[in-house]
């Protein structure tokens, strides 16, 4: 098979990255100021015996290497520790949060990709016209806005029209299925729109420059000389080739989606991963923070891997 070792190489790299992230994760929280025991026990004047007991309980009397080894072992078994805030296992907390985050982020991203590709292609095709100017200016404006601030602007705009916080109306008693769905859809609208608008700006700019590059190629000229219709040239000749850089850049922007989700969920009190990170920061809930960071890293690494493999499949020129 073509480039089997390319695929293996990418997968190994992804696994190594996750390993590095795990190690950073382990090391960072041991660099926290103050002794770990006082941090954990939250008792400023504990007796030496209590301290020793806590130390034993959390395995902090062992050497750093032993601790690291135990940490890796537990992680491998899916044990992310226990949240300081609600004493639930971090992994179950994160699972609930992830299920809440996914639909919101997904809707926003799809919205951004569709709108961004559309306006980007139009901008490139109508190069030098007012249409391009308007499309690029709008995109740049949305790209420049701080995510959470845009969210707050939407809250001001839509206050009273759409719900601006939470995931569902808690005062609906025994709602029918359709009311429940409508309620959820109303709640998801603003957070998704915020994320979508911020990403849309970036995607428009990316798609436009990728399209400009392909539109300058000789085969476009050939296609035009053959008398193909504009739409066919755009779709079959230009966009297909422009898809390569677009796919990579969209994958690379996933890291920013993660960041955006944290801000958006904070604004709209959406009970997802981002909100979990925010709450964990406020409550200094280190196990949650650690777990959430690991989850975010793993997902970004995973999508990068997917993008790499996709790129490989899309572009037959890659052989190494």
């Amino acid at each position: 098979m073509r480039g089997a070792d390319y695929i293996v190489k990418r997968i190994v790299f992804a696994l190594l990255t996750v390993f590095v992230a795990i190690t950073i994760n382990f090391a960072l929280f041991r660099l926290a100021p103050g002794s770990a025991v006082t941090n954990l026990a939250r008792v400023p004047h504990a007796t030496p015996e209590t301290r020793l007991a806590i130390k034993r309980q959390f395995g902090l009397d062992k050497s750093k290497w032993q601790q690291y080894w135990i940490y890796l072992g537990q992680l491998f078994r899916g044990n992310l520790g226990v949240s300081f805030a609600n004493s639930q296992p971090v992994s179950s907390n994160l699972r609930t949060a992830l299920i809440n985050t996914l639909p919101m982020v997904l809707i926003g991203t799809v919205f951004a990709i569709v709108l961004g590709t559309l306006t980007g292609v139009i901008a490139a095709w109508r190069r030098g016209t007012k249409t391009e100017g308007a499309s690029v200016t709008t995109a740049l404006a949305f790209y420049s806005m701080p995510t959470h601030w845009l969210g707050l602007m939407l809250v001001i705009l839509f206050a009273g029209v759409l719900p601006t916080g939470g995931m569902s109306n808690e005062f609906l008693l025994n709602p029918s299925f359709s009311t429940h769905v409508k309620d959820l859809a109303e709640h998801i609208a603003l957070p998704s729109l915020t994320l979508g608008l911020v990403l849309y700006g970036e995607y428009t700019l990316i798609v436009r420059s990728a399209m400009l590059e392909t539109l300058g190629e000789d085969y476009i000229l050939t296609a035009r000389a053959k008398g193909f219709r504009a739409g066919a040239i755009l779709r079959r000749h230009a966009l297909r080739n422009a898809m390569l850089p677009i796919a990579t850049l969209i994958a690379l922007s996933l890291g920013y989606i993660v960041a955006g989700a944290i801000l958006v969920e904070t604004v709209f009190s959406w009970p997802g991963i981002g909100r979990a990170v925010y709450d964990a920061v406020l409550q200094r809930d280190y196990p949650m923070l650690q777990g959430a960071f690991l989850l975010l890293t793993v997902s970004v690494v995973f999508f990068n891997l997917v993008a790499d493999l996709l790129y490989f499949k899309l572009d037959p020129r890659i052989t190494t």
Binding site: F13, T17, V20, I24, L28, F29, L31, A32, P33, A124, W125, R126, R127, G128, T129, L140, A141, Y143, S144, M145, P146, T147, H148, W149, L150, L152, M153, V155, I156, A159, S209, L212, E213, L215, G216, I220, L221, R224, A230, I233, G255, Y256, V258, A259, I262, L263, T266, V267, V277, Y278, V281, R284, L289, Q290, F293, L296, T297, V300, V301, N304
Partner: protein, 318 residues
């Protein structure tokens, strides 16, 4: 080093000698938006630097009711502490810019050093450094910033360092690529064979060639750094005693400016951040555009269809 010292003299001549002024001129000519960006940025910087002189009121002085409405004496109203918004904006922009510039400086030093070292020495050094860069590129910046900032505790210095040590990756990659191509040029090889030290070659020959690109990258990074500061501040991770633009948004959000209807406390700081980011993007993008020969090949869009001139455009057309 007896290799290619005599051969491509012609190619050496063909490389257009572009002075600094030439690059500035070319940028402006090709992308007038650069002027807009530079103008906006200059305006914000002047306002921020002159805050002690120009600010109409004292930064800590309560001059009216909480969330006072905009009026003639306070064109943008008052914030949650009854402090004049115009004054706050000027001082806030000051802190935001300081964080943006300082963090960018940190990341430019790291990214520049790694990029130059990797590109100049190549081989194993290159491989190792680029691997490290790859790892950093994939790890999501903002969550890591949040964690580090949360662990270290809120202070301006920590924020600068945290942002700085995570933003250098793209710089390192861009610079490395450029250095690799500069290193192969004949005058660099000549300098080496004349006995110039690595240090001298890098400082005298490589860095000046890479400088414009580094500047473009710096301007673009400032935008990201300021955005990150705003985000960290919004999550309550910035220095509570220093009012930055991000801190202003956070304060207004936390003290329920929206439900009070005090839009003037929350709209202006966001607009200002957006203006700064927009200005940096326009300026940085334009410089990058003027420098990147790949982008310079006349983009033949469907409407202005011309044959691409293949001769007489210098080495980029080849």
């Amino acid at each position: 080093m007896s290799v290619v010292l005599q051969e491509p003299a012609a190619l050496d001549d063909a490389v257009p000698v572009r002075s600094r002024r030439g690059i500035v001129w070319e940028t402006v000519k090709r992308r007038p938006s650069a002027l807009v960006g530079a103008g906006l940025l200059a305006l914000v910087i002047v306002g921020a630097v002159l805050a002690p002189v120009l600010a109409p009121y004292d930064l800590h002085e309560q001059v009216g009711p909480v969330f006072g409405r905009p009026s003639w004496s306070h064109p943008l109203g008052l914030d949650d502490g009854g402090i004049d918004m115009v004054t706050l904006l000027m001082w806030g922009a000051r802190i935001s810019l300081v964080v943006g510039f300082a963090a960018t400086f940190v990341s430019m030093v790291i990214g520049g050093a790694i990029g130059v070292t990797a590109g100049y020495f190549g081989g194993k050094v290159d491989t190792i450094l680029m691997r490290i860069t790859d790892y950093f590129l994939v790890i999501p910046d903002v969550p890591l910033m949040i964690i580090v900032a949360a662990i270290w505790g809120p202070s301006l210095f920590h924020i600068v360092i945290v942002i700085g040590i995570l933003l250098w990756t793209s710089t390192a990659r861009v610079i490395r690529a450029q250095v690799k191509s500069v290193r192969e040029r004949v005058y660099v090889k000549r300098a080496r064979s004349l006995g110039a030290s690595h240090m001298r070659v890098v400082l005298r020959h490589v860095l000046p060639q890479v400088a414009p690109l580094l500047i473009a990258n710096t301007v673009l990074t400032i935008a990201v750094a300021i955005f990150d500061e705003t985000a960290l501040a919004f999550l309550g991770l910035s220095d509570p005693s220093r009012i930055s633009l991000g801190k202003m948004i956070e304060n207004a959000f936390q003290r329920a400016a929206i439900s009070t209807g005090a839009w003037w406390a929350i709209v202006p700081p966001g607009v200002l951040v957006a203006v700064i980011i927009l200005a940096c993007s326009l300026l940085g993008g334009a410089i990058e555009d003027a420098l990147n020969p790949r982008l310079r090949v006349a983009h033949l869009s469907a409407r202005t269809f011309r044959l691409r001139p293949l001769v007489g455009r210098g080495p980029e057309a080849l």
